[in-house]
Symmetry: C2
Subunit: 348 residues, 2 copies
DNA sequence: TTGAAAGCGGTACCAA
DNA sequence: TTGGTACCGCTTTCAA
């Protein structure tokens, strides 16, 4: 194995020699400019620039214990819902001088834990998006490393999450206003905190408004899962379907149409997330929207702050940002059909 | 500033002490198991496991010059076309024991170059997806670091790209078979190599089949860009529109419908990429599909090989994988309308 | 087969 | 304000 070492291009020593100062002075001039004489500083900076000096992150990390790297772990990188989060996190990471590494847990708590353990020694903290881990496990990681949760709240852990209570209330009121009396909730992964919030919010608001809601599932939170869920929903005879997320809502929509039902003529469908595609599927989806890119940015800011504090200081009173949500009403919801024409599939 | 150093949890020295051997022996037992006595090795491995030892990537990188980290740089993380690439790359990175960092260049060559420079000292190589850089710049980076291009070919640089020649031929033949005689190509970013390939392939195939194709643009390769492009296409009177990518195609589709045109009754629309949503927009989009997740995996494999070789050995005969593409025919294309009823928007 | 020791490239403390 | 120096944790000679 030749595997020769690729030496770091230009080192601090090279700059020091060229500038005629000590390595420690170069280090200061570059990272603590105010602790160095103006003349020296500018000279050093010039030489460094001329030589194209770039600090070695590894060396710096080894010395300081800080890697300037943040990890973002998600259950499904390909879910369009997460692209806003990814972009927001990436931008803010860059803006704060950090590097973003990304991990996909494939909807699997065990894989998520492994991923975190694998990444831990190389990062300053974790952004856990829609984590599938148990609360206890999250608390455990949080005790060892800075953690910011997105789309999840756990007492004692910093988090950013969309307002599901207000959101589900908007959904229920919308359906009730349209005359719906019976609805179905197509549930996603049991590990999804957001999903549990949604169900809780829907049940509570439904009770208040005299809407009957049954819950089906769990289903995989994907278009394929929605296809299955849609089929099951057909059997129930409810006039409105609320899906765990837009992916499932779109799947259910497809299924309804394939079975000859009209949406929203026979059944109304509501989703969550307002993902890419929700506005141009047929009919366009009524869905609860939240600002994921903004959430990504906020989460990074919180994480960077946590990572800096280092000590427990801040972690004693963790921030819990609850971001507003908004129901976007499109074509997939409409007046409830008359009871005389039940929403059933044509016989197969 | 308290900013106390968070010491690396369990070090090799801890393991060494606990196991009653030298640190160097622990290192060998863990990374070169065959250079250590079986008994010692197993003992050390056991102790390491018991103590929960995890090597410090920083320390390892500093010593070896290898970071076990790969960077994936893309022009737009939120384009659903890239989610397959991201996932494939992430999975294969994990499978080969690497960490994947991600960067968004926002369709901007300068930002892309900066990103690469910023990431360079911390990674073993680059995956450049749909790079917007000039060939010369890519060659320059390739000379300094292992680079694998995705969706781009540059002589001398390893790459994975979808077969655009065959793909555009399929598109043109499809349109010609439907009776279309005049088409429009809505072009994307001039920096897009894929875009240039597409135009070249379309022109050439069109010439062969007697199809007249005009090119409009450039437009931003997004739904918004497609909205604009669609408006411009209306003015031309062609019966078929080929968009730079599905995002633009969907935008154009929206625009056409908003202007009262029927798709494919008045105009047929074809896209590229077969992104999420292409199958459920209205009408579903006819588009050229390629396997991006597979491309991501292959690209990582190539990059890992390059990074290992270290020397120029392999780089003298770089691999150029050209992956097959397939036209997925859906509802957005149909027979050309009769010349007597030109495809025009209703007057405003 | 194992141990000792010299780096890798920075940072940070202590003197000067 | 600067220089010298001792690490940070791991890998890799070189000896034993």
């Amino acid at each position: 194995m030749p595997s020769a070492r690729r030496p770091h291009a230009v080192t601090i020593t090279d700059v020091a020699r060229e500038a005629g100062v000590a390595a420690s002075t170069v280090s200061r001039a570059l990272t603590n400019p105010d602790r160095v004489n103006v003349v020296t500083r500018e000279h050093v900076q010039q030489v460094a620039a001329r030589l194209g000096y770039r600090a070695s992150p590894a060396a710096r990390a080894l010395g300081t214990g800080r890697t300037a790297t943040l990890a973002l772990v998600l259950p499904d990188i390909t879910n369009p819902y997460f692209s806003g989060l990814i972009r927001g996190a990436e931008r803010q990471a860059e803006a704060t001088g950090h590097i973003l590494v990304i991990g996909d847990s494939e909807e699997n708590a065990r894989a998520e834990a492994r991923m975190i353990e694998r990444l831990t020694p190389g990062v300053d903290g974790f952004l856990l998006g829609s984590s599938r881990l148990a609360d206890a496990r999250i608390l455990q990681f949080n005790a060892a490393m800075p953690v910011v949760l997105v789309n999840r709240r756990v007492p004692g852990v910093t988090s950013v999450s969309p307002d599901q209570l207000g959101g589900t209330r908007q959904i229920v009121e919308h359906l009730v206003a349209l005359g719906h009396r019976r609805a179905i909730f197509l549930s996603g992964p049991p590990q999804s905190w957001l999903g549990r919030q949604r169900w809780a919010g829907i049940s509570s608001a439904a009770r208040k408004h005299g809407l009957t809601v049954r819950r089906l599932g769990p289903y995989h939170p994907s278009v394929e899962g929605g296809l299955l869920a849609g089929e099951a929903a057909l059997a129930d005879g409810a006039t409105a379907v609320i899906a765990h997320n837009d992916l499932m809502a779109i799947g259910a929509l497809k299924r309804m149409k394939a079975r000859g039902l009209s949406v929203p003529g026979d059944v109304s469908i509501v989703g969550f997330d307002d993902i890419f595609g929700a506005d141009f599927c047929d009919p366009p989806l009524t869905t609860l929207s939240d600002r994921t890119e903004q959430a990504g940015r906020s989460a990074v800011d919180l994480l960077v702050a946590l990572a800096r504090e280092q000590a427990r200081l801040e972690r004693d009173a963790p921030a819990d940002i609850v971001a507003p949500t908004q129901l976007v009403i499109r074509g997939s919801t409409g007046p409830a059909p008359q009871p005389s024409e039940p929403a059933r599939a044509a016989s197969p």
